[in-house]
């Protein structure tokens, strides 16, 4: 297995850097990214290149076979998530290096937690068995809770505590489900479960536990209450990382397990319920986002809403024709990636606007379009994608989901996509409206450092561009999946 060094590196390197960053002085901690980011970028692209050239494969860690060793899955979905993580987390790290200079005590703990979080996420994307998914979930979850607490204010600690309880409860439910499956089928590997799983009571109870745990971690309505205080109250780069990437990990696990168990085991009824909950999230989250006065809370509730779109995957892929299912797969992943890019951009640019006006209130943004056009422009580009307006990744994803909903004859999901788009337009334009209002004639706002604006702009532009060039990424994502490569 010489030559595939990049696969283990993807989680070993962040882990090593996390430990290393605890050994060096706080001043040196941010500088480790100049080693870590290029190496991780090279490893990610190497994995992609191998996937494209050699096709999807199972990678046996250390050459040991499954029951003894650990299997890693290197297919299109995993590689796509890895690339997304590398891009978003790298830009957030660059942002954080500048942003956290104003928060010296938080800064020293941010870096070890970032690497730990990264290792946990890459572990999840690559894991081939449901127990290692659990390990990754815990590592990532604990790092995320630590990051929420970084601000060390009473509110931040309360939010972190709430998040911790939700995360632990979620993992516990998931672990119970895993234990049930292992006890029944004697295997933890996805391939093994795919062979063995049968529709019986035990499987359904296990599935229910797994779903419940993962919904709690993904913050799907009505289990979302922990998310807005945690994401809206954290330091800006932390909010971006959590909203863009962390909640995607638990969704990713649910998606994988759902597809592994196959249509015989996964009931259509459950799929519809998940879709209905998703619809509830779209409406409730959008409505709540529109009602917020605090800029980052608005963005956090927008995440609650956007998660809902992803859950339309289950009704659209279960018991529908192959074409509708493929479109649902494409559309959901497009939505997922576009949301990761756009939401990170939205949080970062919201952070810049807050820095500029020195207040978190939306009403204090009056007239900011004149003085800080660049921060607002990134906010706008990201907003276009979240509203699902063309040209953007959000639009392409929505198009694919609409197409799938019509093909599978489930017209009621059209209404969700229709009203959801209008609701998100309402809350995005709420911010714009304020910023276009003519206010003070003299520029009293602070200029954020250029790095902060540029990182936000890159992410926002990526959210737009991926919509126009969706063909290739969607092709890669399909490699090794049940939806074929053609």
């Amino acid at each position: 297995m010489i030559g595939l060094w990049s696969v283990p590196l993807l989680f070993a390197l962040p882990l090593a850097l996390g430990i290393l960053s605890l050994l060096v002085t706080p001043a040196w901690r941010p500088r480790l990214i100049f080693v870590g980011l290029p190496l991780l970028a090279v490893a990610s692209f190497d994995v992609l290149a191998r996937l494209v050239v050699e096709g999807p494969r199972i990678y046996e860690l250390g050459g040991w076979q499954a029951p003894l060793g650990i299997n890693l899955v290197v297919d299109g979905l995993a590689v796509g998530m890895i690339l997304m993580t590398t891009l978003v987390a790298s830009l957030c790290a660059l942002y954080a290096r500048v942003y956290l200079r104003d928060y010296p005590p938080s800064s020293s703990f941010f870096w070890p937690l970032l690497w730990l979080l990264w290792a946990g996420m890459n572990g999840i994307w690559l894991a081939e068995d449901i127990f290692n998914l659990y390990v990754g979930l815990e590592v990532m979850g604990l790092a995320a809770v630590g990051m929420v607490a970084l601000r060390a204010t009473p509110q931040a600690l309360a939010a972190a505590m709430r998040y911790l309880l939700a995360a632990l409860l979620g993992s516990l439910a998931y672990l119970l489900g895993v234990a049930l499956l292992y006890a029944t089928y004697g295997t933890l590997s996805m391939a093994g479960l795919h062979e063995a799983a049968a529709p019986n009571v035990t499987t359904h109870v296990a599935l229910a536990l797994i779903i419940l745990g993962l919904l709690l971690k993904t913050a799907l309505f009505p289990l979302h209450a922990w998310l807005p205080p945690a994401h809206g109250g954290a330091l800006t780069p932390v909010s971006a990382l959590l909203s863009a990437l962390v909640i995607k990990a638990s969704f990713y696990i649910l998606m994988r397990i759902w597809l592994v168990l196959g249509p015989e085991v996964t009931p259509i009824f459950t799929a519809q319920v998940l879709g209905v909950l998703g619809a509830g999230a779209v409406f409730y989250g959008g409505w709540m986002a529109w009602r917020q006065h605090h800029l980052k809370q608005l963005v956090a509730y927008s995440t609650v809403a956007q998660i809902g779109y992803l859950f339309l995957f289950f009704p659209l892929v279960t018991g529908t024709g192959p074409e509708a299912a493929r479109l649902a797969w494409d559309g959901t992943l497009m939505m997922l990636v576009a949301h990761a890019l756009a939401k990170a951009a939205l949080f970062l640019s919201a952070g810049n606007l807050i820095l500029a006006v020195g207040s978190t209130q939306i009403s204090h943004l009056v007239g900011i379009s004149r003085f800080r056009p660049m921060s607002l422009f990134s906010f706008g580009l990201a907003g276009v994608s979240l509203m699902g307006l063309p040209p953007s990744g959000g639009f392409t994803g929505k198009w694919l989901l609409l197409h799938s909903a019509i093909l599978s004859g489930q017209w009621w999901w059209l209404i969700v996509l229709f009203l959801g788009g209008l609701l998100s337009a309402a809350y995005i334009f709420k911010v714009f409206r304020m910023s276009f209002r003519e206010g003070p004639q003299i520029d009293r706002s602070v200029t954020p450092p250029l790095t902060l604006d540029v990182t936000a702009l890159i992410l926002a532009s990526a959210a737009i561009l991926i919509g126009l060039t969706a063909h290739l990424p969607l092709f890669w994502l399909r490699l090794g999946s049940a939806f074929g490569a053609g």
Binding site: S369, V384, L402, F429, R437, L474
Partner: protein
């Protein structure tokens, strides 16, 4: 990628690049910005001229790449599209000149010109779109790029107008999206083909097709200000004059009317649309809008408001022409797309000149303006005569062909609508002309600012006179090659004899 594809993409890229550069330029770099903006507008016009000549000779210009499986991004130059591109790039040049003069010393110019260019880029994209997907993409981009222009002044009133504008256009856009996706499911990537792509479908799908048509007409009718979807347009009058000119003559309402033309001719096909019985109701809707807009215009004292309701009415002539089954009616509708643009932009420029130079916004205050500003007033008079349809102005040509087209299509009642609406046009334009030319001003003009050595700033006056001249020439020389009528004739011959 061939040269032709690159040239076609260049038409779009000139305004896209202009927009990006303008956004990046510092607010204080006024000269650089203006020079760059005008250079881009001229370059675009040259490229358009080149392609117009090529399309005339039946050369294919196409630019495409795959976005997702089964959906392509397509730009293609055909006769209908080039007509709209020609109009928008010509008027972009003049509106830019006008806006530079109009916004002199105003704040937020970088933002304004950036979105202005983006708005024109979307219009060109709409015109060149080779399939419904690409059309939709630019149609929504147009909404997004015009919002900052509508709310540009940042007052409570303009923000309110912007909000109403969004309610209408985003709602309409969502309906259009459904229609486009539904057609995509039925026939795959819906490329624009003369004669349409739907006539081969199973007759059991016909009720569904009628439903989709209705949904898409609502989506497009919002921008075309079709009654009762027009309320945003008069409200959007709070925007600066160049924006109104752009909204009314070049970009937004035209995008709606153009979209309806595409839908009827190149998606459904005029014969198939006729056989589904879609054209009659469309003609009725257009007729109601024509009369309603004129009646509302009569009651306005605010000059820009009156012009806005006049637009509501005039744009529906285009839709009326589209809904008349037969080559002559089509000809009248399409040629009005150009004529209305030239005439209406002149009128809005004039309204802006009066407001900027004399501080006059109300019709009742225009007494004697002809003496103070003769050149502007001549331009206004030409535009108004055109709108009424007095020969030899361009508006006459449109109405003439619409009338004959109506008779040919066997819809004689349309003739009544045309006559009534012309009378109403006269009723709301002639009193303005009377005040301008024949009434004397009682008090002195409150002239706060001297705007150059002409009656007003040259930046404001030149575009006004130029567009007025175009509106006159389009009528007088309608029989010459490459006149609007000539080009519309070319489109009709390619549309009806595919």
């Amino acid at each position: 990628m061939t040269w032709n594809a690159l040239i076609l993409f260049g038409v779009l890229a000139t305004s896209l690049v202009a927009s990006a550069v303008i956004f990046l330029l510092a607010e204080s770099r006024h000269t650089t910005r203006s020079v760059f903006n005008l250079a881009a507008a001229v370059l675009k016009l040259l490229l358009v001229g080149w392609i117009v000549w090529g399309v005339y000779q039946n050369i294919d210009y196409e630019f495409r790449f795959t976005i997702i499986e089964g959906v392509d991004f397509i730009l293609r130059a055909d006769a209908l599209g080039m007509m709209f591109v020609g109009l928008s790039s010509l008027l972009w040049l003049f509106t830019t000149i006008y806006a530079i003069g109009y916004l002199e010393k105003a704040p937020n110019r970088s933002r304004f010109f950036g979105f202005f260019s983006l708005c024109v880029a979307s219009t060109v994209g709409i015109a060149l779109a080779g399939n419904l997907f690409t059309f939709l993409l630019f149609y929504e981009l147009l909404t997004l790029s015009t919002y900052p222009l509508v709310v540009h002044r940042g007052t409570r009133e303009s923000l309110r107008a912007g909000q109403v504008y969004l309610y209408y256009t985003l709602g309409g856009g969502a309906l259009l999206l459904f229609g486009v996706v539904a057609l995509h499911v039925l026939v795959g990537d819906t490329e624009f083909v003369p004669g349409g792509v739907l006539s081969g479908l199973d007759p059991s799908l016909h009720p569904l097709l009628i439903g989709i048509f209705l949904m898409m007409i609502i989506g497009l009718g919002v921008k075309a200000a079709l009654f009762p979807l027009h309320a945003w347009l008069p409200m959007a009058m709070v925007a600066p004059a160049p924006v109104s000119a752009l909204l009314h003559a070049v970009a937004v309402v035209k995008a709606g009317a153009f979209g309806i033309a595409r839908l009827v001719y190149d998606v459904y096909g005029i014969e198939f649309a006729f056989s589904l019985g879609l054209l009659g109701p469309l003609a009725v809707a257009a007729s109601i809008t024509i009369i309603y807009g004129s009646l509302r215009a009569l009651a306005q004292d605010d000059l820009k408001k009156r012009l806005a309701f006049s637009t509501v009415s005039q744009v529906s002539y285009i839709i009326l022409g589209i809904s008349l089954f037969g080559p002559v009616g089509t000809l009248g509708g399409l040629v009005h797309l150009l004529h209305q643009g030239l005439m209406k932009i002149t009128l809005f420029f004039c309204a802006g000149n009066y407001a900027e130079t004399l501080g006059v916004h109300k019709i009742s205050e225009l007494d004697g303006a002809g003496q103070r500003m003769p050149a502007t007033s001549v331009a206004f008079t030409l535009g108004a005569f055109g709108m009424i349809g007095i020969p030899p102005m361009a508006g006459f040509i449109s109405k003439w062909y619409l009338g004959i087209g109506a008779l040919e299509a066997g819809m004689n009642w349309v003739l009544g609508v045309l006559i009534l609406s012309s009378l109403l046009n006269a009723a709301y334009f002639l009193p303005i002309l009377y005040r301008i030319w024949f009434r004397r001003r009682e008090r002195l003009w409150c002239e706060g600012k001297v705007l150059g050595r002409f009656e007003t700033s040259g930046w404001l006056l030149l575009p006004t006179l130029a567009t007025a001249a175009f509106a006159l020439i389009a009528g007088v020389l309608a029989g010459m090659p490459f006149s609007p009528l000539y080009w519309a004739d070319l489109i009709v011959s390619r549309e009806y004899l595919p």
